[in-house]
């Protein structure tokens, strides 16, 4: 009987862990979908010259090695969509060492958007931090 109850509790624990892992993954995914465009705008605004997808992905890897923000492959559709909205512009250049590369550059409207999104991000971050640290009265 005792053995059976141990098995049941172990099963429950495994299910809880799996649920937590799934929930974490989902939470991370939702956060990423909102912040990816801001991160990409910021990287391209700081870049001295236009960057192609692979370089941006490598840059993000170096910038934040411990916590991979999002899968590298998910950057490409975001870049395309930002180009479609006029935040970025791109051109294709042939490469000596491989396939042609699409180089992205931030536009004037992208820079303006980055400024306002940075402000919104700071406000959101301050609000969430405040709640998490218990500064605000509940």
């Amino acid at each position: 009987m005792i053995i059976k109850s141990n098995v049941v509790s172990n099963d429950q624990e495994v299910r809880n862990l799996a649920y937590t892992a799934d929930a974490n993954k989902k939470f991370q995914k939702e956060l990423n979908s909102g912040t990816a465009a801001l991160v990409l705008l910021s990287i391209l605004a700081r870049a001295d010259e236009p960057m192609y997808g692979y370089r941006i992905a490598k840059f993000m890897e170096v910038d934040d090695e411990n916590v991979p923000m999002m899968k590298q492959g998910a950057l490409y559709p975001v870049l395309r969509s930002m180009e479609g909205s006029g935040l970025l512009e791109s051109h294709v250049d042939p490469s000596v060492s491989g396939p042609p590369r699409r180089y992205y550059k931030i536009t004037k409207s992208g820079l303006e958007t980055l400024k306002s999104w940075t402000k919104i991000w700071s406000q959101t971050k301050a609000f969430v931090d405040g709640i998490l640290k218990g500064k605000a009265d509940v």
Partner: protein, 295 residues
Amino acid sequence: MCKDVNEYLAKLKKELEGCDSALIQDALSDAEGHLRMALDEALSDKSSLSETEAIASIIEKYGHPKEIASAYRAIESRTSPALAVSRRKETRSFLARFFSVLAEPKAWGAFFYLILSFVTGIVFGGWVMTAGIISLGSLVFIIGLPIFGLFLLSIRGIALLEGRIVEALLGIRMPRRPLFHNRSLGWTDKYKALVTDAYSWRALLYAFLLFPLGLIYCGVFSLLLFFSLCFITSPVFELVFHIPLDLFGDNVFTPVWFLPVVCLAGFFLLPLTFHFAKFIGKVHGRFAKSMLVRK
């Protein structure tokens, strides 16, 4: 677990089944470019590493086919091609719908595309005929082979450019990235792949057909626009400036009682022209997609 880039691409293609074919082509192109670049870098950094070992860690960072397919699906559902309009239930009357076509960017885009196809048809079709004949003729010499290869590559460039025009003006999703061949292939294999790829020949046929189609589109729609405007302005021209419309023969004025009918006909012919342009634009867009997107 994928053993190489080709296996990854095959799985990604399967995961994207049911999506727009242009989106699939773009997603595969992005993935292939990224994975091959990463693989080259990994193998040159650590020569002791096998391709299978290297690809496993690269895919871990890039994302598994299922994750990447869902990322593309999610973004694509939020970004519709230029001029594409959302489907909403139509509640306006028939007349309102009939005349409102003149305020629809999609109708203007299609109309402009059909007029522009006169120029693109001449440029693209002219290139196919002149450069095609020269490169085919040069095939009798050994130097003709690379010339013919370059000609086929130029056709791919034309296909990409035409795809961008079609997407911008007709609102049909088309590929946004050029196609490329595996860098590990030798020159002979690349050449073979270029010549045996049905896509190259479909693009060639499309560029050729655009020549007569452009002439027909531009001729028909210029005439329709001309007649609509003539009919609408006929009372002003005939009664104020005394310039006959010549509906009933040389230098014969339209009877005054008939002028309102002619003017009204013009007001109906103009939106009708735009409805027709929208329809032809839609049909041509489908045709372009079937010819210029790799299957």
